[in-house]
């Protein structure tokens, strides 16, 4: 009697799995589990940064590409550091990141080819409304960072080797400061989580403008400094070198890069807005 119940249970589990898969797509179970959707398209793995994916821009850019070519773009959003590591390991086909020096080294070392600069946006310094370091309105980023350090106002760093983190560390270096002490706190987390932490702690933080716009309704922090040249945030795209990793989808990567610098993609970038504000500026129009 109860053994029968057990048999029914196992059947229920199997049926749930099978029914679930027919709901997902026409493809077979194994196809789905292998990451195929059953259509005759090749997979193109794009490793990019969380801020790029979270901005929502890719959801506008990719469908037009997929329509034109028979590729399916799978976006893996990680920090710039890990995205480059994916490229070195051949776990991604194409990279879209924002850390120019690291990108150039990557290409120099033969891991990537055909690097193109496609767009830019900028970084801003966010801070609490009462602005304890009194830097509101400063356009000089180095000056702002120096004042924060002098006043020992709480500063939140991503500390995760991301593009934003690399940029922040670069500014400290240029300002001649080795940030340390109780006021300098590393989260090791993504941009959004770090902004939330900075908001809760009434701290200063360096953020890309896109993530700030996405978060500004939820936080009390506001922009205290913007416009310095050093805040320039350049996005590059690189194909992973098929000489190093013959398995990568090199043709797909080339097609994707060509697409991103095309007029069509550049216009999508120009016209993409969040809360009425443009997030990225195209470089090839």
């Amino acid at each position: 009697m109860r053994t029968k119940k057990m048999a029914i249970l196992v059947m229920v589990m199997v049926v749930v799995t099978v029914v679930a898969q027919t709901q997902v797509s026409e493809a077979g179970l194994l196809d789905i589990f292998r990451g195929d959707d059953g259509e005759e398209v090749e997979r193109l793995i794009l490793a990019t940064t969380t801020s790029t994916e979270n901005s929502g821009l890719l959801e506008q850019l990719i469908p037009a590409f997929e329509e034109k070519y028979s590729y399916r773009v799978d976006v893996v959003a990680v920090g710039t550091g890990r995205a480059l590591q994916h490229g070195r390991d051949g776990d991604a086909d194409v990279l879209m990141v924002h850390a120019k020096p690291a990108e150039l080294r990557f290409v120099e070392n033969g891991y990537g080819v055909n690097r193109k600069e496609i767009m830019y946006n900028d970084f801003v310094i966010l801070g609490p409304k009462n602005d304890p370091a009194n830097i509101k309105g400063t356009t000089d980023a180095l000056e702002a960072f120096r004042t924060i350090a002098e006043e020992e106002a709480t500063f939140i760093s991503r500390g995760d080797n991301s593009g934003t983190n690399k940029k922040e560390l670069g500014i400290w270096e240029e300002a001649g400061i080795d940030p340390s002490g109780e006021w300098y706190q590393e989260t090791g987390q993504g941009m959004g989580s770090s902004i939330t932490i900075a908001d809760q702690k009434d701290a200063y933080i360096l953020s890309d403008r896109g993530t700030y716009i996405a978060f500004r309704d939820k936080i009390d922090l506001e922009i205290v400094s913007e416009g310095d040249e050093v805040f320039y945030n350049l996005y590059g795209v690189i194909a992973v070198n098929s000489d190093k990793h013959p398995d990568v989808n090199f043709e797909g990567a080339q097609a994707f890069i060509d697409y991103l610098v095309s007029e069509k993609a550049q216009k999508i970038i120009r016209d993409y807005k969040m809360d009425g504000e443009r997030l990225f500026n195209p470089l090839k129009l």
């Binding site: 249970l9 589990m13 749930v16 179970l29 979270n54 398995d247």
Partner: protein, 230 residues
């Protein structure tokens, strides 16, 4: 408080409208977790039985290792699986990275020690008495074993439920091995993590409520099977 209300109402809207993308995400979560729990059970229950029943050298070490694996963070298992199935890893040519199959593989590794240790404990606890009593009633060794299985099956089902709870709720491994790729490997937990990082707390909470609803439904079903009628 705002987030909670926002989350609740968003969850209700999502559930009733059955947004196709949310449905896909939820179904993928169920499929992946059910598959890994099934595989872990098929491997783990016999393994638990063997370890409980037979004496062999190194048995103590195996039990210690299994118990240690129970407290392994999902990210570490993720890292381990990742380094095996990455292009640079020994299983790189199977192309499992960023596929649901990769997640299933990792979740199976997560679930396996739970199934093995819990069923091992259930079997060990009652084995001697059940077998002795059965033998004294004239059972052959095989008949005694069958009776043992019948007697411990609810305890073992409990082990399976626990394992299911662990895999359907884990995020570290799915994120690492699956990559949270939209329409391919995005599960409820990785979607929640992503929405949270985007600042969409209400939406994240809504997905969390859907996850809880699924977990509740599954537990109710399993509980029905586990129930001892008196």
């Amino acid at each position: 408080m705002d987030y909670i209300l926002e989350g609740l109402s968003a969850a209700l809207r999502l559930l009733f409208n059955l947004n196709p993308e949310i449905r896909e995400i939820a179904l993928l979560s169920i499929m992946v977790s059910t598959s890994s729990t099934l595989i872990a059970s098929l491997l783990g229950i016999p393994l638990g039985f063997v370890v409980a029943h037979y004496d062999f050298q190194g048995k103590g070490i195996i039990i210690t290792i299994l118990n240690t694996l129970l407290s392994l963070p999902t990210v570490v298992v993720g890292l381990l699986v990742f380094s095996f199935i990455s292009n640079q890893g020994p299983l790189g040519n199977l192309e499992l990275l960023y596929t649901p199959l990769g997640i299933i593989m990792g979740q199976t590794i997560l679930a396996l020690p739970i199934v093995v240790t819990l069923s091992l404990n259930v079997i060990k606890e009652s084995e001697d008495k059940i077998i002795d009593t059965a033998l004294s009633l004239g059972a052959s060794k095989k008949q005694a074993m069958i009776l043992l299985f019948k007697e411990v099956r609810f305890g073992i089902l409990g082990a399976v439920i626990t394992a299911y709870g662990r895999v359907i709720g884990e995020v570290g491994l799915s994120m690492m091995v699956g990559g949270n790729i939209r329409r391919v490997t995005r599960t409820l937990t990785t979607a929640i993590a992503m929405e949270t990082s985007k600042g969409e707390f209400g939406f994240g909470l809504a997905l969390g409520i859907i996850l809880m609803t699924i977990a509740l439904a599954i537990n109710l079903v399993l509980h029905y099977f586990q129930e001892v009628r008196t």
